[in-house]
Symmetry: C2
Subunit: 289 residues, 2 copies
């Protein structure tokens, strides 16, 4: 895996949930592994964006010739954590043709009639594509647990179901990159307040955002359980301090780039004879004269 | 509609198919309406990209508050005409969260069992989104007509079916922008030849590309019929000379921008009491001290 300047420790290890990870001790203002400044971080993200775009195109090209691999980025985080900004500023660096972005809100009636993974499965990226989930099946062990939307034995069972499903996905060629964006409760309040100051941000604010804050400790407990029980070798969690938005965006860029690099994506070899085709073209040109 | 510098005539009129349009007389190397240079054109596209991104976000925001309008960009053109480049360089300027890009290749067996509009309907953009079709239902009156994939009376019927369907779509809030990218047969040959010179482009080349050139006149006839029969007030065609890629990308940027501008997209008004919410936040802050 290529190491970049300014990274003392690469985010694939610096941010990965390891044994004994405790969310309550986690510094949400930090920039783990990165020694550079904001300016350097932004410049580096753009530099890496060129590589990310190149790797994405290789993945897409492979998808065209029968390779069924894909990449899935799962974004979780409390309101205002910056999930949307990741989609815009990280995925915005690659060809939209190869990106399937999908947000998950409250399930529809039809979705509720199915297993919780039904709507998730339907939204999976096609071969050669990068899928992005802004919220995901993890809501079914976060909000569903916090608000007791289903009985405890139902959500308890879901951790294993998720692990098995993700293992199956990974086995069938989907690389899963899971990122939880973390800001403090104070930072969230500042960001919510800011949304009230700008007419172009009012739509992002909902009165329920403040209501949900009453459940903050329960959400943190639910997140801790997610990290304890679903950070697997097949699909580990990365917890990303997101007070510095530039850091979170840089970190996700690096995580995606690393994931694609580890897929050894070559340009597909031609399934035709290059010289023969060149001769055909030369021949057509002569005819045209 | 805002007029931009360097446009003598705006592309919404300069490129629109009008009565008596003849594809065989169409200059595929031109830059209709635009008096600027390549450098100015590229700069202008990026400037307009900022506006495009702003309008796209308004559309997305409206979609979140119940407005069911959407925008659909339909791209058609022969191989190498630059459809993919439009997706990358035009749609690449807006938030991927609000873009649904979809390419249409040969229909699957399942798709063939349905009406030709079935797979198209399923790929329509959701409310608040910009959909992009790289090829579309027009293949069903282009390749299907040229290669007689269906009997004549079937494809003959499709023009009216398309018009009715597009009218219905427009009536239900989807603005349709149809663009046909046109390069000459010589230019196509140059572009195909170029794909053979670069390993990162080999995957874009198929031996059938040259085979299809034998049908060029039949395709041009089929395109002429498309323009004659499906350029409606509800969803007019724009024919875009695409020898200069920068021009085609700028033109599509302008067409999309104009379409969004004509939708009068305001930021959604808050559905809550701003002062009340500010007071709640101030209160929470006091509690936090």
């Amino acid at each position: 895996m290529a190491r970049s300047k300014h990274w003392d420790e690469h985010p694939t290890s610096a941010l990965r949930v390891s044994e004994g990870f405790r969310l309550e001790d986690f510094d949400r203002t930090g920039k783990p592994g990165f020694s550079g400044s904001k300016k350097q971080g932004r410049r580096l993200r753009k530099e890496r964006g060129t590589l990310l775009a190149d790797l994405q195109e290789r993945l897409f090209a492979q998808g065209r010739v029968g390779d069924d691999r894909s990449l899935l980025l799962v974004l979780q985080g409390m309101d205002t954590a910056g999930k949307g900004g990741i989609v815009r500023h990280v995925l915005g660096m690659v060809d939209p043709q190869g990106v399937q972005a999908r947000g998950f809100g409250a399930p529809t009636e039809e979705e509720l009639e199915h297993h919780f993974l039904w709507r998730i499965e339907k939204a999976l990226p096609k071969a050669g594509h990068i899928g992005v989930f802004d919220r995901s099946h993890y809501e079914d062990v976060l909000i569903a647990r916090v608000h007791e939307l289903v009985p405890q034995d139902t959500w308890e069972r879901r951790y294993d179901e998720i692990n098995e499903w993700e293992q199956r996905l990974t086995d069938s060629g989907t690389t899963i990159v899971k990122c939880a964006l973390m800001v403090s409760q104070d930072e969230q309040l500042d960001r919510l307040a800011k949304r009230l100051t700008r007419p172009d941000k009012h739509w992002k604010y909902s009165t329920s955002d403040l209501d949900e804050r009453a459940y903050w400790p329960a959400y943190m407990e639910a997140f801790q359980a997610v990290f304890d029980r679903t950070s697997t070798d097949a699909a580990p969690w990365h917890v990303i301090p997101s007070t510095r938005k530039w850091y979170a965006r840089l970190a996700v860029t690096e995580l995606l780039t690393s994931a694609l690099e580890s897929m050894d994506l070559e340009w597909p070899a031609p399934d035709y004879d290059l010289d023969e085709e060149r001769a055909r073209i030369a021949n057509l040109r002569r005819q045209g004269e």
